[in-house]
């Protein structure tokens, strides 16, 4: 395995890259408590994309949990494995809360937040480079984002639990386009109220 790409994604910025099957992407939370929103599309047909519900249904059938960790297999809307989490120092990655947007921020945090930066802005800019758009946005993975669902049904965004230098490693099971927003949100604790850079290393043949 050799390093193919090694970049630092600045705080609040988007990123995207293709992974060939077998290649591994390591996402490093350099300073801790930084949510990294991610979406996955089949490189062969972008209309096959990550499906949170397919992923959780398959996990739940074997006693799995409502969040992702090492061993989680991320499935497409055709039920096919897209990537597997093969390394993880954090243990909790959300896939229920979706990505923040300007519009949802107005509802959740007040109309005064409407012009603040948001993950779906990052996603849309990055999707546009591939001829994709808003129809292609679905519920994503939020790496390093702590979103407990409590037995009483409450769903909140709590303080992140990732440590400085913590990482998650994803092995591509098919050729995929990976879309990332280094989350700019400061209205909830997902980034410790202080968005910070991340590092992304792709390795493989």
């Amino acid at each position: 395995m050799s390093v193919i790409s090694d970049v630092v994604v600045p705080a609040r910025a988007p990123y995207s890259a293709f992974l060939k099957a077998g290649q591994v992407m390591r996402i490093i939370d350099l300073e801790s408590q930084q949510a990294v929103d991610a979406l996955f599309y089949s490189a062969a047909d972008f209309s096959e994309r990550y499906s949170a519900q397919d992923t959780l249904a398959a996990a739940a059938a074997s006693g799995g949990k409502y969040y992702l960790g090492v061993g989680s297999v991320l499935l497409s809307n055709e039920g096919r494995p897209m990537v597997t989490v093969v390394g993880d120092t954090c243990g909790f990655h959300d896939t229920n809360a979706g990505a923040c947007s300007c519009e949802s921020n107005t509802v959740r945090f007040g109309h005064e937040t409407r012009f603040m930066h948001a993950c779906r802005e990052n996603f849309l800019v990055e999707l546009g480079k591939y001829g994709l758009g808003k129809r292609d946005l679905v519920s994503n993975v939020n790496f390093f984002m702590n979103v407990p669902i409590r037995p009483n049904g409450e769903l909140t965004v709590d303080d992140g639990v990732s440590e400085p230098g913590g990482y998650v490693e994803l092995r591509a099971e098919m050729d995929v386009l990976v879309l990332i927003s280094n989350c700019p949100q400061v209205n909830n604790p997902c980034n410790g109220f202080n968005p910070t850079p991340i590092q992304i290393i792709i390795s493989g043949k």
Binding site: A52, Q53, S139, P189
Partner: protein
């Protein structure tokens, strides 16, 4: 006015914790009785047989009463704004914006645009799940399944799998235990019922197919549908349910002003 991009972490935290505390104070949903439907207001009735689906349009302030007389384990639902189909049901926003996975009377279904697609105006409380959602061929095998039925319904509007995201499984109770394991709580009681009021002109896809975690992977009874027109009154249970709902309706109503 304070510059929201330049507050301190402590100031951001204080704002968030105030919103969270307020949300926790209203976690219990009101009980709501179903009223008699005036036959003169009925626009449509349908009975969807096991494995079937329907695709139809409704106008703003039409109400969909969905009945589950035999307690079949789930009914898959997806919604689009009929006037702009790129605006559609958003599971993540629906849960996150209301701080809960418990969708019942008083709660609403949000689009991806910070607007309300539909309000849950009455509910027997069978539970409606948007975490795991409808079944797919992975659970149902060759039997009719929610994913394919929703795609077929979408196709009747000229839409494709690109136009679908995580969906809602009505009449499906799923709970996360203390360890985070998801549990399906069993088929609903016979006679379960829910009413959804359209808050925009909508395209509706409704499928009589089970939840993904149901033991039975084939529908066990019909789903009955009644559409009637009933604009909100002054004392509506959804429109004033929470500050989040108020802002969602402000965003929605602006499009109809």
């Amino acid at each position: 006015m304070e510059d929201l991009d330049r507050l301190t972490p402590a100031q951001y935290r204080a704002r968030y914790e105030a919103l969270q505390a307020a949300a926790r104070g209203r976690a219990v949903a009101p009980a709501v009785a179903f009223s008699e439907i005036d036959p003169a207001l009925v626009k449509k009735t349908e009975v969807i047989p096991p494995g079937g689906y329907v695709a139809f349009r409704v106008k703003r302030f039409d109400v969909l009463r969905v009945e589950n007389p035999a307690g079949t384990p789930g009914a898959a639902l997806f919604l689009w704004n009929a006037d702009d189909v790129s605006e559609r049901y958003n599971a993540g926003d629906t849960l996150k914006l209301q701080w809960t996975t418990n969708l019942t009377a008083g709660r609403v279904l949000f689009s991806d645009m910070g607007r309300v697609l539909a309000s849950i105006v009455a509910d027997t409380g069978a539970g409606h799940d948007s975490i795991v959602g409808p079944n797919t061929p992975a659970q149902a095998g060759a039997k009719r399944n929610g994913r394919d039925n929703l795609r077929l319904a979408a196709a009747k509007f000229g839409l494709t799998r690109q136009d679908l995201g995580p969906a809602l499984s009505l009449f499906s109770r799923v709970r996360a235990d203390d360890a985070g394991v998801l549990h399906y709580e069993g088929a609903p009681d016979a006679g379960a019922m829910v009413e959804l009021r359209a808050e925009q002109n909508l395209l509706v896809a409704l499928s009589n197919t089970p939840h993904a975690l149901s033991v039975a992977q084939e529908a066990t009874g019909p789903i009955a549908l009644t559409v009637f027109h009933a604009p909100p009154g002054a004392e509506d249970i959804c429109r004033g349910f929470s500050p989040e709902a108020v802002r969602g309706f402000e965003n929605t109503d602006a499009g109809f002003a």
